[in-house]
């Protein structure tokens, strides 16, 4: 009976992992095929990779788009983690009724779709002349309710006795945060890094609107350009998608274990 149950579990897991991995496999296989073969649903590898690479680099400035994406995503990710972890820590360790209430308001803000704030945000940024700067790219999504909530939930499992002990030892609040809290929250930081980096990397609408120069083009915009028009080269498109998804994929693989712990920890909290 136990064996049967195990077999069923493995079967379900096998199907689920096949469903998750298959699109990735197809993306890689398709990037080595020509357009007509991709459209015909060919699933095996072929010899067209080099031709696709040549075409892609001839059509688009991949180097610049990639460098831009990395630049903006890394800055956004680093600043966002710093700001949101301090906020999450503060909301939990120094919590009182007013701060709890404020937190609920923050969570409500998650409900507002970005399209609704696009034009007001745009007017704000152009009014102060920040358009087409990295600050404009970064600021609107620097602090997200989701990240603050993630850090706050993690901070719940953090024993306040340690904070008290550190205070008695004469550490100031900021040092306690940096030296005591941050090192114990590695898995939360890993989870937050994965989510933030992915969001920053995939961000499309806001950068398109506020970064008014062609020179600020990012990878998602490049992929969008490849998929426009009436005669799309799907081999080249899949190669573009592959290059675009590599960084988030690699980052996830590196932080995978911590990511799972971080998310579970937050939920448990």
């Amino acid at each position: 009976m136990k064996r049967l149950r195990l077999a069923v579990t493995y079967l379900i897991l096998a199907v689920a992992s096949f469903l998750s991995v298959f699109p990735l496999y197809w993306m890689i296989a398709a990037s080595t095929n020509n357009s007509t073969d991709v459209l015909a649903g060919k699933l095996t590898f072929s010899t067209n990779l080099l031709a696709n690479v040549t075409k892609l680099f001839a059509q688009q400035d991949v180097g610049r788009a990639f460098a831009n994406s990395v630049f903006y995503s890394v800055i956004l990710c680093a600043l966002s983690l710093a700001v949101c972890s301090i906020a999450g820590y503060g909301f939990e360790i120094f919590h009182d009724k007013i701060k709890d209430c404020l937190m609920s308001v923050l969570l409500l803000a998650m409900m507002v779709p970005f399209a609704a704030t696009l034009i007001p945000l745009f007017r704000m940024f152009t009014a102060v002349g920040l358009q087409s700067t990295w600050l404009a790219y970064v600021l609107p999504t620097l602090s997200t309710p989701f990240l603050i909530m993630l850090f706050r939930q993690s901070a719940r499992s953090f024993p306040t006795e340690i904070v008290d002990a550190a205070r008695i030892d004469g550490l100031n609040e900021f040092v306690i945060f940096v030296r005591v809290f941050v090192p114990t929250m590695k898995s939360t930081y890993a989870a937050a890094t994965t989510v933030t980096f992915m969001n920053a990397w995939n961000s499309y609408l806001w950068p398109k609107v506020i970064m008014m120069s062609d020179k600020s083009q990012t990878m998602p915009m490049l992929v969008a350009n490849l998929s426009s028009g009436f005669s799309i080269d799907y081999g080249v498109l899949m190669l573009g998608v592959l290059i675009c998804s590599l960084p988030t994929g690699i980052l996830f693989l590196i932080l995978q274990k911590n990511f799972a712990n971080g998310v579970v920890g937050a939920v448990k909290g």
């Binding site: 610049r64 831009n68 087409s132 062609d214 799309i232």
Partner: protein, 446 residues
């Protein structure tokens, strides 16, 4: 322990890469990092640079050719072409107009004909009035110019032809005992008969279309001069006999398996490029898609003819229009005179230019003097050695002009849903059309 070390090494590698990237990123984005100058990064600053937004290699390459020709006389002028998607151009025009940031728009941008009228109406401050610019609009096909005219003023320079062609695989037709002549100047009733026969003999559907985007329905409507808007621009789907007639044809095509609906554009392009359908009916720009196949054996086995007409409906013809786009000049352009001169000498004044984009890209102009050129009589090996461009130009002259209204895109979406409902059996045609009418009215706030 080992794992920890690996993770640490990997993390430091990521850090190193990202730091390096910071450096290079800062370098590449240096021109945009400085506040004010970058604010006007898109629109040129009064120098000799014209910034252009357009999408797709088809349009970009045509613009590059225009720049090349213009540069011969004006080597000091730079045409900076920035690839921007059609839907992004719409979003940006809207955002910059509402945000009062018109300076961020380029000097020249392309807009698809389906929406340009609506944008001119809603954001007139964006578009420069070209009526007295010296560009001779009488030299363009009138059905095309009409898309960018508002209150008697011209706001756009027409670009590519949207004349509808019916393109078929002659080898497949032959297998079933037909020629392309059998499909020329026929009615939809006759087309359905032939389609059933070919389907029975070859197992292949005659046509392909993207599900939920019934472009074919709109092509049938225009071919018979049927408008879905009344004189006041209000949506008029219900009690529209022509629409009902056209919808019935569409539904029969799908039900009989003569028209195969695809889930998206990739399915559509795939069915043509992989030879799983006999043909397609679309704007003449579809010829570029047809020729983009990697299957060598398709070359020489395609033919182009006119589309079927709406049976005995009064005013029915075999000619229609679909797609196409128009160039606009920003009212905020600091190089307005230069932009106008550029458009006037190339897009509205150079036969050589149109000959060359016809030969290289298959782009068919709506600038009438270009059609007299010898280039249009050249034959295409891919299309069985026929002079298809001359053929398409001759169709273009016979397209009925209809009142397309401002909300063409909204109508298309609602009718797509209506047809899908009828096909899945959850509504009858009359109630589905009534629902579409209500949807469009709600969406456009009538």
């Amino acid at each position: 322990m080992m794992k920890k070390k690996i993770a640490a090494a990997a993390l430091s590698a990521v850090m190193a890469v990202s730091l390096a990237a910071c450096g290079s990123g800062a370098q590449t984005s240096a021109p945009v990092a400085s506040g004010d100058q970058s604010g006007n990064a898109a629109a040129s600053d009064g120098s000799n640079t014209l910034t252009v937004w357009c999408w797709d290699a088809f349009n970009i390459d045509a613009m590059k050719k225009a720049a090349e020709i213009y540069n011969r006389e004006h080597p000091e002028v730079t045409i900076d072409i920035q690839e921007t998607l059609a839907k992004d151009i719409r979003t940006l025009v809207q955002t910059y107009a509402v945000g009062g940031e018109l300076d961020a728009l380029p000097d020249i941008f392309l807009m698809d004909d389906q929406v340009i009228a609506k944008y001119i109406q809603n954001y007139p401050e964006v578009f420069a009035d070209l009526t007295d610019s010296g560009i001779d609009f009488s030299q363009f096909a009138s059905s095309k110019v009409a898309n960018s005219v508002s209150n008697g003023k011209n706001y756009g320079v027409p670009y590519d032809s949207n004349t509808v062609v019916a393109a078929y695989r002659t080898d497949y037709l032959e297998q079933a005992g037909y020629t392309v002549e059998d499909l020329t100047d026929i009615t939809w009733d006759r087309f359905i008969e032939i389609g059933k026969d070919i389907k029975a003999k070859t197992g292949m559907p005659m046509l392909t279309n993207v599900q939920g985007e019934p472009d074919l329905l709109n092509m049938i409507l225009q071919s018979a001069g049927i408008s879905v808007f009344d004189e006041n621009g209000n949506i008029a789907l219900t009690e529209n006999e022509g629409l009902k007639e056209a919808a019935k044809v569409y539904l029969t095509l799908v039900k009989e398996g003569i028209l195969q609906e695809q889930t998206d554009w990739s399915g559509y392009q795939g069915s043509i490029n992989n030879g799983t359908v006999v043909g397609t009916i679309n704007g003449s720009w579809i010829c570029a898609t047809i020729m983009s196949t990697d299957q060598q054996e398709q070359s020489g086995n395609w033919a182009v003819t006119d589309m079927p007409k709406l049976n005995d409906y009064t005013g029915a013809t075999n000619y229609s229009a679909q797609g196409g786009s128009t160039w606009a000049i920003s009212s905020s352009s600091k190089n307005y005179d230069l932009a106008v001169d550029f458009m006037k000498t190339t897009w509205a004044g150079s036969t050589e230019f149109y000959d060359s984009i016809l030969q290289d890209l298959g782009a068919i102009s709506t600038w009438l003097p270009a059609a007299d050129s010898d280039a249009y009589n050249q034959t295409s090996d891919f299309f069985g050695g026929k002079a298809i461009y001359a053929q398409i130009v001759s169709y273009g002259k016979k397209i009925p002009v209809v009142n397309k209204g401002l909300y063409w895109a909204e109508e298309k979406e609602a009718m797509g849903i209506a047809l899908a409902k009828v096909l899945e059996g959850s509504a009858d045609l009359d109630s589905a059309i009534a629902e579409a009418q209500a949807t469009v009215e709600f969406n456009i706030g009538q």
